[in-house]
């Protein structure tokens, strides 16, 4: 059933009450707040997978060290997930306040599955608590134990699709007409799977850096082989998945709307420079990680971590610029309420 619109625009009028603050200030907050949230989410999603991977490795090879590392990661995941959730509140609050006309329709259009996020995440977190707290007690019931880890991680692998679908949908109101809920939307908006690939590669790259950093810090205190394994695996994972980002990034860019893409490929000096700096830094990061992989070095790691954090900040900024480019024509037709009429 086709929608008929009051005006040419599929975007509703803004609410009558003014946006309570200075827009650029909100934008800085959302870019910084979002990347903080995302780093924790990356660690939680990839960490829940890695805990399972190391437990399986422990079972298959009879490797106690891998099993112990699995438990350490599971413990980290359970702590970080609480922070990831709470850090998500600020960006969601800001996006709801300043992009109401776009974010609310896109949310309601996948409304039923959007609400499913709540029971799904509760279930996943509870499964992962069982997974962590029974690790020692269920040493002789490994299959059962593993089932909890796999189920918890599987939910966490699914959940980002809901968020990605929502933010991809809010950028393309022209595609809302005829949208039929979440599963339909998953294949309706052209950037969803590319974003998912980009996000997953980032997750395993970041968890790699995190594991290396933690292993390195702890191995100075004790000569535990668990920490040596964390370092070795961590730097390998960081390297491989950063290289994969060089594939995921361009694929995502290619999936974007032709005008948005053009802005980043020479159409706009500002956008092109922003992307160029990020790509150059990513290449430097790969070189640093490759050298770190060959020989451990504190300075190399510190440099790599600094470059990675800069890239993350740039990515969050670029993500914001992409949103602004997509929404610019709509924002002109149906402007935000920035001043009271009376």
């Amino acid at each position: 059933m086709p929608y008929l619109y009051k005006t040419e625009s599929p975007v509703p009028n803004d609410l009558g009450l003014v946006v309570p603050g200075n827009l650029p200030f909100f934008e800085v907050l959302i870019v910084v707040g979002f990347i903080l949230h995302l780093i924790y989410v990356n660690i939680v999603v990839a960490g829940s997978v890695n805990a399972v991977v190391f437990e399986i490795r422990g079972i298959v090879k009879g490797d106690r060290v891998a099993d112990a590392l699995g438990l350490q990661i599971a413990t980290l995941v359970s702590m970080h997930k609480s922070i990831a959730v709470v850090l998500g509140v600020a960006p969601l609050l800001i996006i709801s306040t300043i992009y109401t006309q776009f974010f609310y329709p896109s949310t309601i259009l996948i409304g039923k599955w959007w609400l499913m996020l709540i029971p799904l995440l509760i279930l996943s977190f509870l499964l992962l608590y069982v997974y962590k707290f029974t690790w020692q007690r269920w040493q002789h019931r490994k299959r059962l134990h593993l089932a909890f880890g796999i189920a918890g991680a599987a939910i966490l692998l699914f959940v980002p699709l809901l968020f990605i679908t929502n933010v991809a949908s809010m950028l393309q109101p022209e595609l809302w007409e005829g949208a039929k809920g979440f599963w339909d939307s998953l294949f309706r908006y052209p950037t969803i799977w590319q974003r998912y690939f980009h996000f997953m590669a980032a997750s395993f790259s970041i968890i790699g850096m995190y594991m290396y950093w933690r292993g390195r810090r702890l191995s100075r205190k004790t000569g535990d082989p668990v920490h040596a394994l964390a370092m070795k695996y961590g730097k390998g994972s960081a390297l491989i998945f950063t290289v994969l980002q060089m594939l995921a990034g361009p694929i995502l860019l290619l999936s974007m709307h032709v005008e948005v893409r053009a802005s980043f490929l020479g159409g706009s000096v500002f956008h092109t420079s922003l992307l160029a700096v990020a790509v150059a830094l990513a290449l430097i990061l790969i070189v640093l990680l490759y050298r770190l992989y060959q020989a451990d070095s504190r300075r190399l790691f510190a440099a790599a971590a600094a470059v990675l954090l800069t890239i993350l900040l740039l990515m969050s900024w670029i993500r914001h610029e992409v949103r602004e480019l997509y929404l610019a024509p709509y924002a002109e037709q149906v402007p935000r309420t920035l001043q009271h009429e009376r």
């Binding site: 619109y5 009051k6 009028n13 009450l17 998500g88 996948i110 409304g111 039923k112 709540i118 039929k180």
Partner: protein
């Protein structure tokens, strides 16, 4: 209507928000606030008396408080936000515009709360002897932060029913510092401790094995309860007096009980909880199991009743004197009645009503103006149209809709033209009296999911 509409059918849109909110309040009040206060009180006693059994109990409590608050507690909190966004976007969107910075501050408090909770749980073995006081201090800070979350959100909830001068000034401070904020904050604070004791004292029986230790723990619980119940009563009366007149009148109605039942249940409930306080302080290790179970369940029912009443007495508004419960602005009703609701909607399959699409137009209007509280058929019978409009003809409905807000104080006025009234009446009559023909219209409805 600015936004797409959504239909949770038999479950009922409003029930979904209510269920999420009640579950969250139960956990937040009983576990996050009440539970933390009790846990830290037990740890304080353990430190002072150098009693490892009490410390072990506080530690056990901290594990379960962490598990429950970081899963069901945190996610249902986000859930209230999610359900309202999907079901009442105009209302939550406007509240976010008014209270953005209050919520932002709340977020900073949340972050501190989570970090303190994690630190508290993971640092039990960190300090020994004299230095144990550092751990205790983290606990005290945790209690304060948990309480702050309540203080801030209560300002927003209180403003919804009593926004003070805000409707005139549109000033954040006028809305936040409304006359209902302080009494409702005090009321909720002591309600939280009361709930915490009522629910958690059940655990004492199984988890504190030593009889002398159990008496000690029960005394701590009992003292908190004996203080909280009268405070709840006093602040409750103050809270009630601070509400708009119309809302005060609605309280008994909102509970869905007769006057006698309302008084008996509430006064009796409080008295029973007070008896529990006295019994806990009495110094006997065994509390009657009937009293234990009954007060635990009853206190949860009381908080549920409170939340239902609080939501209901706000009617017909969601933001008092500004926005009706269905998201229509009070100031827009006149305009929409002239221009038409459908003509002003962004997301609708019908813009002009014809004899062919009348039922479908009615379905759209039902989703726009009724579905926030009502469903066609549904679990909550008092809100189901099959109950409320049973036996009413299309003509009777068309006569009732334009005046329903005059006949029933809790109903908002219908915002729409005569044609739209007829379409809604036709749709309702068909759905209630002759669902088979109405199925056609329902199938053609624009479904958002």
């Amino acid at each position: 209507m600015n936004f797409p509409t959504i239909d949770f059918g038999w479950l009922g849109n409003g029930n979904l928000i209510g269920a999420m909110a009640v579950l969250h309040v139960m956990i937040n009040h009983a576990v996050a606030i009440g539970g933390c206060v009790l846990m830290v009180s037990v740890e304080y006693k353990a430190c002072r008396d150098n009693n490892p059994a009490l410390e072990a109990y506080a530690r056990w409590l901290s594990k379960w408080i962490m598990i429950i608050t970081t899963t069901v507690g945190a996610m249902t909190g986000v859930g209230i936000w999610f359900t309202t966004t999907v079901i009442l976007p105009d209302a939550i969107g406007s509240l976010l515009r008014i209270f953005h910075w209050a919520w932002f501050t709340e977020w900073l408090v949340f972050v501190s709360e989570v970090i303190l909770l994690l630190t508290y749980f993971y640092s039990w073995d960190r300090w020994k002897g004299e230095q144990k006081k550092y751990h205790l201090r983290i606990g005290v800070a945790l209690c304060i932060m948990s309480w702050f979350t309540l203080v801030i959100i209560t300002g927003i909830l209180a403003a919804q029913i009593n926004p003070g001068d805000w409707t005139e000034t549109l000033s954040f401070w006028d809305a936040f510092l409304n006359p209902t904020w302080v009494p409702s904050t005090i009321f909720r604070t002591f309600a939280a401790i009361t709930l915490g004791v009522a629910v958690l004292h059940v655990m004492n029986r199984w988890l504190v094995k030593g009889l002398r230790d159990r008496v000690t723990v029960q005394r701590i619980f009992g003292k908190w309860l004996a203080f909280s119940v009268p405070m709840m009563l006093i602040s409750g009366i103050w809270y009630l007096r601070s509400l708009p007149d119309q809302a005060q009148i609605l309280v008994k109605w909102a509970s869905g009980m007769s006057e006698t039942a309302f008084l008996l249940i509430n006064a009796g409930g409080l008295l029973l909880i007070f008896i529990l306080a006295v019994t806990l302080m009495d110094g006997k290790p065994k509390v009657p199991i009937v009293l234990t179970v009954f007060t635990a369940v009853f206190s949860l029912l009381l908080i549920t009743e409170f939340e239902i009443i609080r939501e209901n007495i706000r009617k017909p508004y969601v933001i008092y004197n500004y926005m009706y419960a269905n998201g229509v602005l009070k100031s827009d009703v006149e305009r929409l009645s002239k221009e038409g609701m459908l003509a002003n909607a962004t997301f609708t399959a019908v813009r002009e009503i014809t004899p062919d699409n009348q039922l479908q137009a009615g379905a759209e209007l039902f989703r726009m103006q009724c579905i926030a509280c009502h469903s066609i058929d549904g679990v909550r019978r008092s809100r189901a149209m099959t109950e409320r409009a049973a036996g009413m003809s299309q003509e009777a409905l068309a006569g009732f809709i334009p005046v329903m807000h005059e006949i029933r104080d809790v109903m908002p006025p219908f915002a729409g033209t005569q044609e739209e009234i007829d379409a809604l009446a036709a749709y309702l009559a068909a759905m209630v009296n002759d669902p088979d023909t109405a199925v056609v219209a329902k199938d053609e409805e624009v479904s958002s999911d």
